[in-house]
Amino acid sequence: MEIDRDILLLMLRRMWMIRNFELKVMEVHSAGEFSGAAHPYIGEEAVAVGACAALEDTDYITGNHRSHGHPIAKGGRVDKAMAELYGRVDGYCKGKGGSMHLADYSIGILGESGILGSSVPVAVGAALAAHIRGDKFVSMAFFGDGASNQGALHESMNLASVWNLPVIFLCENNQYAVTTSYAETVAVDHVSDRASAYNMPGMLVDGQDAIAMYEATSAAVKRARAGEGPTLIEGLTYRFEEHSLGLGRVARGAYRDEAEIAEWRKRDPLDILEKTLISQGIATREECDAINAETVEEVEKATEFARNSPFPEPEDLFEDMWANPIPLP
């Protein structure tokens, strides 16, 4: 598949943006600049970036607790994302959502969900609207291997298939639900094997390879827009860091060993994409490094923006409850 150079470079930029955003989050979180849970996406960047590069701004996504990568991958703003983590008024949700609930309705990011599997029926609903109105947009639900065991996934995939909806079920299989391994919790070898139960195509993709993710998702998007229904894509990937920053350090040895982590770190999605771009003459080493440096700079500015944004005022507590407001009880 011939991929436009601009798309390849955009993918590299977004992957570096996520990586550098997450590194900054880990730094400022451990420095105590904000509290609360935050779940780093480091190691998994190629999955969301490759998948979202196949979407338009008018397409919709929903996501989960590991929530910084999806909005950035879809073109969200790092300054508003960072300000949200800092709990400030200029954050995406004016400080009411925090790390696990980023959303940007101006570019189809319908919101991340801290309840796993819960945002998947919502994505099916966006696709249902396209189906009823005859619109051409598609929707994509990100979920993990852990959430693949939720009833919501079964209900959503069955519903999307019987109604032939333009939705892509995108499983980020990072192989651990917090500390519990895939093998302990999933009855099939691959989440994508479950697609046959819903009469839809299932694709198992190397989730460290952004280009492979882009190609697979593009095929699924094409099917969806052509009215051919849903697809289940599994990006096989790995979480390089711990589950969450706010929950205390979990002993790695307790559930995964250092050798396994080291093995997966050799397959860093940024290295893989950069090597491909350089070897194919699409970008030089210097160009790749410049993109990295530019995103470092943008994340620094975003962090300053977040630090300088005020906290909400007490009266803001009561804003945003209702579209058609009612008196307080």
């Binding site: 949700c93 959303a103 109105r133 519903l159 804003e319 209702w322 009612i326």
Partner: protein
């Protein structure tokens, strides 16, 4: 003015709103064949894309309705109260919380119509009157109509409202006939009942009964019997519990000095509890007697009629409660 059956009123409201606005669609189990009656003839008029029969997947299709509402549709979900338990994740974690959690970005004009089939041998799994649980959760508007006209007018308002709404449709009223004005008789030629405005069903001076859903008719019967003894009872129907018209309730209690609350829900943390709490806090000096709650006994709904009939508020229980307020 036409005599209309409660179920017909539901049907009229949906039909009128689907004609008026193409973004309104309805989904639920067995609605194309209208097994409960409320969705009769919708399929033939509006077609398969706007009248959707769903699999038995409440969590899935409630979520689908929520997602569709986020991108400009106005879904109406038909379900039973008892099936909402299966979809609580979507109702609470998504419908109720999304707008606030996303800083006002999400707008969810979605209506859940939940039938409450209590009182006719449906037993524990099909008899829930669960609105108090949802009153406890911010983010959902709650309607409990007590007659055909309010049913129609409130449902139409709910479909046009931009927030998630649950309409608790009292199954004991499905066959009730009542006057529903023809559209041609109305200003604007349609029946719209605003949220947050209680209806004074009957005026009186000795005691106020605030009655919810099916308890309104029992309260009217109680008031009739008490009137024969010279006791004058005022009956107030809040019609919507979120928002709640506490002003009308407090004004009535200020006039009568006594309050009975008749609520088909379980008595602990019921709508009656909340109303009693409001009047205790804000209307205490109007009271001449302790507030009386007449709500369902704190047991599950037994199947056998010999037991079930003792669970809910009825006219004799309401009369006894009014008498207790007058003894003080």
């Amino acid at each position: 003015m036409a005599q209309t059956v409660f179920l017909e009123a539901i049907n009229q409201a949906i039909q009128e709103e689907m004609r008026r606005d193409e973004s309104v669609f309805i989904l639920g189990e067995d609605i194309r064949r209208a097994i409960y009656g409320a969705t009769a003839d919708l399929l033939s008029e509006f077609g398969e894309k706007r009248v959707l029969d769903t699999p038995l997947s409440e969590n899935g299709f409630f979520g689908a309705a929520i997602g569709a509402s986020l991108v400009g549709m106005r879904p109406v979900v038909e379900t039973l109260t008892s099936f909402m338990w299966v979809a609580m994740d979507q109702l609470i974690s998504q419908a109720a919380k999304m707008r606030y959690m996303f800083g006002g970005q999400a707008t969810l004009p979605v209506v859940f119509r939940a039938s409450m089939f209590y009182g006719a041998g449906s037993a524990a799994h099909h008899s829930d009157r669960s609105y108090p649980m949802f009153m406890n959760m911010p983010g959902i508007k709650i309607i409990v109509p007590s007659n055909p006209a309010d049913m129609k007018g409130l449902l139409k308002t709910a479909i046009r409202d931009d927030d998630p709404t649950i309409v608790f449709e009292d199954g004991t009223l499905f066959g009730m006939r009542g006057e529903v004005p023809d559209n041609s008789e109305l200003p604007g030629e349609e029946l719209l009942v605003p949220f947050g405005e209680a209806r004074t069903v009957r005026e009186g001076t000795d005691c106020t009964i605030v009655a919810i859903g099916g308890a309104v008719n029992h309260s009217i019967a109680a008031a009739d019997q008490l009137a024969a003894e010279g006791i004058s009872v005022e009956v107030i129907d809040p019609r919507t519990l979120v928002p709640l018209d506490k002003k009308s309730i407090l004004e009535s209690v200020e006039k009568t000095g006594r309050l009975v609350i008749a609520d088909p829900a379980h008595k602990v943390c019921s709508a009656a509890s909340e109303i009693a709490s409001i009047v205790s806090e804000e209307g205490f000096w109007s009271l001449q007697a302790p507030i009386q709650k007449v709500a369902s006994e704190q047991v599950h709904i037994p199947y056998t009629p010999s037991l079930e009939k003792h669970v809910y508020p009825d006219a004799p229980k309401i009369i006894a409660a009014v008498r207790r307020t007058l003894e003080s």
